[in-house]
């Protein structure tokens, strides 16, 4: 039977409101690629990734055409390289990043994630070498994304790692200074990182995952905003109900396409990540949804509450639509990748402190924020520590992806291009956190009772 209204609505969602599947990410375990000889290990890594992903992009493109819903990014995530490379006697892992880059090129994907280490409680030899290799690895590759987990609710915050990452982020910014420190856009630090996140820069294939799997990140901020435009002035129950219904539809669309690709590739279906992910394009902004809920400009008082209800309603609608929900699942609030957020920075309605408050109620954290290039390492570490504390205490994922743009200061803009967008530099506190960061050690895991 033909239901004209539903069919035309779906077509409009894609054509007018930028509905798309943001990413389909193929997770590949590299646990069997470890070798005492680094060269041999890298050959195994390249062979395994390219063999398993041989038809990935081709099948994904064929399927998206059949369903008429675009899949914007095809990506690969792998086991954290610190675990694999740690078996070798190498003292520098840049070559591992280069082999991932090459494998990503062969597969035809646009990013490959997993140049990662999990150090919430302490460093292994491999973790330390990997982290020290990050700046050069990101400077000498195009597609490789790197992530480091610094804290979990169960282990506390590794403050030695927090301190180290402040320095690593600055070094990465310096080595990619010719391109507005773009290396930092491919590096994220986490508290409570999830093992099945399909979104970059933080995607890696966790050690508890299967040999391979396909996970999907759906999107559609434009679709949600359009649905809200039709209910102007109505109460919050109506707002939540409208968001839930929209999230249901977009999740279902993502799931049916992902399951078809997984069947065709004979790779198990992983998870659906329900995150609303913006792009710099007009009409694809999370900030504009918050404004549609009733705020003059994103960052005004009420923004945190609006974001909380948006995030919760998206999850409720999405969970009803799919039994395979995982990953980060929430709303992303990156600055450079969101047209409404960029405009909010430019008109002075949002600052880093408000963004930090917003991260308490949505997925991820301080994301794609450009800050002055002369920000001290310890200030970057302290921002990371604050974000880790929010994640650890509230038992949620939080992340930091800051770009200290070399040679630029507040008032200037960093241009990254493409999906990474452009970011007006934001001010950070001028007061020092040096002594706080220099203490080192670990902030213990929090108590799980007496919650106030």
């Amino acid at each position: 039977m033909i239901n004209t209204k539903n069919i035309l609505e779906t077509i409009k969602m894609v054509d007018k409101y930028n509905f798309d599947i943001r990413t389909i990410t193929m997770g590949i375990s590299l646990l069997d690629c470890a070798d005492t000889n680094g060269e041999k290990s890298r050959i195994k890594i390249y062979d395994k990734i390219t063999k398993l992903s041989e038809h990935f992009v081709e099948i994904a493109e064929k399927t998206e055409k059949e369903f008429g819903i675009p899949i914007i990014n095809k990506r690969i995530s792998v086991t954290p390289i610190s675990i694999i490379a740690g078996s070798s006697s190498d003292t520098d892992y840049v070559k591992y990043a280069e082999v991932l880059d090459k494998a990503g090129d062969t597969a035809g994907v646009n990013f490959i994630g997993g140049f990662s280490a999990l150090v919430q409680k302490g460093f292994t030899k491999g973790d330390r070498i990997l982290i020290n290799s990050i700046p050069q690895a990101l400077a000498s590759t195009n597609k490789v994304c790197s992530s480091v987990n610094l804290a979990t609710t169960k282990s506390g915050i590794n403050m030695d790692a927090v301190k180290l990452m402040g320095k690593i982020i600055k070094e990465t910014a310096y080595l990619t200074r010719e391109n507005d420190s773009i290396g930092c856009a491919k590096l994220v630090v986490f508290a409570n990182a999830v093992e099945d996140n399909p979104f970059m820069a933080g995607a890696f294939h966790g050690a508890g995952e299967s040999e391979t799997c396909l996970s999907v990140g759906v999107s559609g901020p434009g679709v949600v905003k359009n649905a809200l435009e039709k209910i102007k002035g109505e109460d919050f129950e109506t707002v939540c109900e409208t968001i839930k219904r929209t999230a249901f539809k977009i999740t279902r669309a993502g799931e049916v396409i992902a399951k078809e690709i997984s069947k065709r590739m004979n790779v198990p279906f992983g998870i659906m990540d329900l995150s609303l992910a913006p792009t710099p394009e007009i009409g694809d902004s999370v900030a504009r949804i918050l404004e549609e809920i009733g705020l003059e400009s994103c960052g005004a008082h009420g923004t945190t509450a609006a974001l909380a209800l948006l995030n919760d309603a998206v999850k409720k609608g999405g969970i009803m639509a799919s039994s395979n929900v995982g990953g980060l699942s929430g709303a992303f609030i990156p600055v450079s990748e969101d047209e409404g957020m960029i405009s909010a920075v430019n008109n002075g309605s949002i600052n880093i402190e408000k963004l930090e408050a917003m991260t308490c109620v949505c997925s991820v954290g301080l994301d794609m924020i450009a800050i002055p290039g002369d920000t001290p390492d310890s200030t970057i570490s302290a921002i990371i520590a604050d974000e880790c504390a929010i994640g650890v205490i509230n038992q949620k994922s939080t992340a930091v992806r800051l770009i200290p743009v070399y040679g630029k200061s507040v008032g200037e803009t960093a241009e990254f291009g493409g999906l990474l967008g452009r970011a007006p530099l934001m001010a950070v506190s001028k007061f020092s956190s040096e002594d706080f960061i220099n203490r080192g050690g670990r902030i213990p895991a929090p108590i799980h009772s007496f919650k106030n």
Partner: protein, 89 residues
Amino acid sequence: MKAILTIIGKDKVGIISTISTLLANRNVNILDINQTVMKEYFTMIMLVDLDKLDTEFSNLQDELVKKGQEILMDIKIQREDIFDKMYEI
């Protein structure tokens, strides 16, 4: 496999005949047609059966899009199951 074909654009003579000829040449069976004209805008939705399609889905899609450009209509073909999944609990 069933698919939904949508044709949207300014109304003119011969739209259905052009498209149904193309489909017949490719061995595509039309199961249902729904058509409306609002003001001068024409919207037609067809449910078609592709089980006996004599070419790849993507070839049929390309041919339809090309034909659409010739007759100045926007033509899309999508698998039917996407609509069922999105709108049914």
